[in-house]
Symmetry: C2
Subunit: 203 residues, 2 copies
């Protein structure tokens, strides 16, 4: 029997919306017999450079709306964050490079690593741009410090650049972003529509 | 018995997302014993001037995404549009001024007028920046041409300015935008969350 095509999911660790989606997408896909292929992306490239927009938390009106919306999602999901939404984001490159490297060379640990990064960054407020903190997060996912030294290096950087280029070519501009059966879905608020799409076999 | 507070709903006629929401918000609210207070807003003020962003259909990547997303909603809703999404929008001011005037002076006809404008603009592809076409739309909602001459004049312009200022002060930046029990919700993709909010009495 031909298996159903996977769902592609793009995340930037500095997006709280990406974090929220990361907690739900795998179970959602599994309910419909789908796998999820996770990908790193960089909002700093897509939103700032390609689209020519401002960071969301520096955009008038939107910067006041986002904490209200995230606050509602957190209450709905029963979550609390130690990281303030208005705080300057960490440098996402070390974590994103390592994630790109793990996806290629150690796929069994890659998703666990992404969950660790999201959890420590958002829920515990840790700064994972420091290599010691990032190595701690990796250890939490069963990845050795030696592996991380390799993963955050030049090859990880090249793999991340390739992922970011591929994301832009696929029309991916935000996080979370999903492509399901060739259809692009942007935003955590699309999870219900994705579920509906999977139930109905498209519409 | 104290009645439940109304839902505030902001629309700009040139937004296809606002059009989609306009077709569902009243019935959604009624299912939960709520009234809807409709308001005009202008994306040209909030998005372009206050937020300093580009029009959505002139933003790289996003301009390719929007037709895909709107296409899905149209299939889901069983609708077809004669207006192309990439076409230059009409001047929304005459219709928005008239809507602001009707809300103040002829509330019984205001909502029917808004539905006529949305339907003719999006579904039939008419340009309602011309006063003859706008008067036709108004006639479809039972409003005399004489009333429209008044509604699109200086008082309508002043009432629209006041609505747009009030929208910005309330943090409204896009269309559709909703405020429910003091909580701001942006986007047609929030209708399910609004329904959930009304069912649960907040979360």
């Amino acid at each position: 029997m031909k298996s159903k095509p996977p769902i592609d999911f793009w995340c930037d660790f500095i997006s709280p919306y990406g974090y929220l989606a990361s907690l739900r997408i795998d179970a959602l896909a599994a309910r419909h017999g789908r796998e999820v292929r996770w990908h790193p992306m960089l909002l700093g490239i897509s939103v700032l450079k390609v689209m020519g927009l401002k960071p969301i938390m520096e955009t008038p009106l939107k910067q006041d709306y986002v904490p209200r919306e995230i606050g509602r999602y957190l209450r709905l999901y029963g979550l609390q964050l130690q990281r303030a939404l208005g705080a300057a984001p960490m440098n996402p490159l070390p974590a994103a490079r390592a994630f790109a490297w793990l996806l290629r060379h150690d796929a069994a640990h890659a998703r666990g690593f992404a969950h660790q990064v999201y959890d420590r960054y958002w829920r515990h407020g840790e700064d994972l741009s420091e290599s010691a903190a990032l190595a701690d997060a990796a250890r939490g996912a069963g990845i050795a410090a030696q592996t991380m030294a390799l993963a955050t290096g030049a090859e990880g950087a090249a793999l991340l650049r390739a992922e970011v280029d591929a994301a832009i070519s696929s029309g991916v501009f935000g996080s979370p972003f999903f492509i399901v059966d060739g259809e692009p879905f942007f935003g955590v608020d699309k999870l219900e529509l994705i579920e509906h799409w999977l139930e109905e076999g498209g519409w």
